[in-house]
């Protein structure tokens, strides 16, 4: 297999590498012009054909998706970087018949100069714009983390799309022409919030937060999360139902591989897909996803697209400083030798499905991660057992030795009863049990949660009071027994790697009677299997079952009646 750093030497003649195009060739499209850029593997385009292709790709991606409607308010997230600048420029060129706003984020370096440059660019655009500083996360309300129901906008594909658009436009006309004019006013508007520069306290709090994070990987993830929340807040405040970000093909390929390494494999479809509807009322779309970074850089040069450079947390960081950097270096080096690498990885991301195929969606949705707002991919009650014990670094001599993460040993109250808990540890455990696997692992690099913005802690507190009584029911997770043939062969994994797919816990009270597989009483082995596939298979046979054991597990759960014994385990079923 390919290895980073390995030198592949010269490509074999007539082998994998396509012949290098030279200047003597003509543009592959118009067959006349002098080629100026090579994109993909060996396709040389002249200046005009390249520009036309670039713009066409942008329009095609938007048109194909049928998500954006004429007259709809769209927020363009602009970081100042080349990709989002190019996206802004495209929107301007394409002259989409919709009002747009641009929101750009900033971090705390060379503020005044960057701010002035950004304002200059934004004024030239002619859209209404809002500048938001990252420090404003300390002023966000906890409602940012809640997922309202999606707005009843028009939906439709195929012939129904046109009808839906017509209906949408009629509705907007009914709302009043005055409002339309205001929204489509081309004059630049100053930002709504008069104070653009944040307070010193907020800046200090932000520096403290990022200073306390131990690894660059966790810093980058945290930055991404906070930025998303901020943009979401701006979008909701100003009534935007769509947000466009400038993620390019190369960046999404890197993001896909990085997400896998970070334990976010369950959410790849949302993290890298065209439309990200996890926030409910606000949909994040990625119209630049068909453009590579090379095309963006070249187009920006050709058309003199203004962009503002701002150093980020990973500027000048060495290659192995974080998983993001490592993955970026790996993919780009591979791409240099094998030009179809990025597009292959990208095309894989297009094939990822968001919803399981058989009607699993008919059931009520589970709780969502506090930070990334994806549906939880770990059993919330895990926090009381081995994985949670590892995560929260509880240590007690009275606690039984912790087996691999995911295994439940005896009554799961062992982690909670019998020793006093500090308020701080409780608060930390409360936050962690509401996070998905990837976010939990990231949070391990943040020693103290006190530095987190208050809206996160407040929402965590609220949810822990709201969700706990229902953990044993439909919301947080459920006990199921697993028929033999769904289990991976052989004994359970002993040294479970830290970043893997989620584990399903086997209950102690309902036990599949596997043939030839001995289970010690009360100590089921951990199972690493895709939870969604498993749930679908089991539901088709048995449906969900509540776990009566959970009543005794947590010290603070109300006692539940002993529920039905559950479905009779029958290994031969399904």
């Amino acid at each position: 297999m390919c290895e980073v750093g390995e030198d592949y030497g010269e490509p074999s003649p007539g082998g994998l590498q396509p012949p290098r195009p030279g200047r003597e060739q003509k543009c592959v499209k118009c067959k006349e012009g002098l080629p100026v850029v090579v994109i993909r593997a060996g396709d040389a385009f002249c200046r005009d054909c390249f520009k036309a292709l670039y713009v066409h790709k942008f329009r095609a991606v938007l048109g194909k998706s049928r998500l954006i409607f004429p007259g709809e308010k769209v927020l363009l997230a602009w970081s100042g970087g080349p990709s989002s600048s190019s996206m802004l420029w495209q929107v301007l060129q394409v002259r989409l018949r919709r009002p747009q706003g641009a929101a750009c984020g900033q971090s705390a370096t060379d503020r005044a100069k960057t701010l002035a440059e950004m304002k200059q660019v934004l004024r030239a655009l002619g859209f209404p714009w809002h500048i938001v500083a990252l420090e404003e996360v300390f002023g966000l309300p906890p409602t940012v983390l809640r997922r309202p129901a999606p707005a009843p906008g028009p939906v439709g594909t195929g012939p129904a799309y046109k009808a839906a658009v017509d209906h949408f436009l009629q509705q907007r006309c009914a709302l009043g022409a005055g409002r339309e004019e205001q929204l489509s006013h081309p004059g630049p508007r100053e930002p709504q919030s008069p104070a653009v520069l944040p307070t010193a306290t907020q800046t200090e709090a932000l520096c403290r937060l990022f200073g306390s994070v131990k690894t660059l990987t966790a810093k980058e993830e945290l930055l991404q999360t906070l930025r998303t929340h901020l943009i979401l807040h701006v979008a909701r405040t100003h009534g935007y139902s769509k947000v466009m970000t400038g993620d390019t093909c190369t960046r999404l390929a890197i993001k896909l591989m990085t997400s896998l390494a970070l334990g976010r494999g369950a959410f790849l479809a949302w993290d890298t897909g065209f439309a990200d509807e996890r926030h409910g009322d606000v949909v994040v779309v990625r119209p630049m996803r068909e453009h590579t970074l090379k095309e963006v850089a070249f187009y920006n040069r050709l058309c003199a697209v203004p962009s503002v450079f701002t150093p980020a947390v990973d500027t000048k960081a060495p290659e192995k400083a974080s998983i993001h950097r490592l993955m970026e270096a790996f993919l780009l080096r591979l791409q240099a030798q094998f030009p179809s690498t990025v597009s292959t990885v990208y095309r894989t991301s297009e094939k990822l499905l968001k919803a399981p195929r058989d009607g699993f969606a008919a059931g009520p949705p589970g709780p969502r991660c506090l930070l990334c707002m994806c549906v939880l991919d770990v059993d919330s009650a895990d926090s009381a057992t081995a994985f949670g014990a590892q995560t929260t670094s509880h240590g007690s001599p009275t606690q039984p030795p912790v087996p691999e993460a995911g295994a439940a040993r005896g009554p799961c109250c062992c982690a909670w009863m019998g020793r006093p808990h500090s308020h701080r540890e409780d608060a930390r455990a409360r936050v962690i049990e509401q996070l998905c696997y990837g976010c939990r692992v990231n949070l391990k690099d943040l020693p103290s949660l006190d530095c987190l913005p208050p809206y996160i802690l407040a929402e965590a507190q609220l949810r822990s009071q709201r969700y706990l009584p229902t953990l044993g029911g439909l919301g947080g997770g459920f006990w199921v027994s697993i028929p033999t043939h769904l289990l991976p062969p052989g004994p359970g994994p002993s040294g479970r790697p830290r970043r893997t797919w989620t584990a399903m816990r086997r209950p102690g009270w309902v036990r599949a009677e596997p043939t030839g597989r001995q289970e010690p009483a009360g100590a089921p082995s951990p199972v690493c299997i895709n939870k969604n596939i498993l749930i679908r298979k089991l539901q088709s046979t048995w449906g969900r079952s509540a776990d009566p054991r959970r009543a005794g597990g947590h010290g603070f759960l109300p006692q539940q009646h002993a529920g039905p014994a559950g479905p009779t385990p029958s290994p031969a079923s399904t």
Binding site: R23, Q25, V37, S83, T315, K316
Partner: protein, 101 residues
Amino acid sequence: MAAPLSVEVEFGGGAELLFDGVKKHQVTLPGQEEPWDVRNLLAWIKKNLLKERPELFLHGDSVRPGILVLINDADWELLGELDYQLQDQDSILFISTLHGG
């Protein structure tokens, strides 16, 4: 024997951070035995212009993957990459695509 060349070297997309923040450099390459090609230019840049962290700009003989090279506003892949012979008054632009989004 190659005559001295006067070329303009420009850095963008964040690469200028490695060159004291200066984007445009008008350089005069001294005369030497071998003709000036991009390979030699990169070695010259490393010795004379690059202020810090060579590994962020160069990778072996060539530029780091992710850095786009434009010679007279044309992709260097069309011109032979490292083997392109520099002419007087050429403009070589290095854009880092790795930074920003």
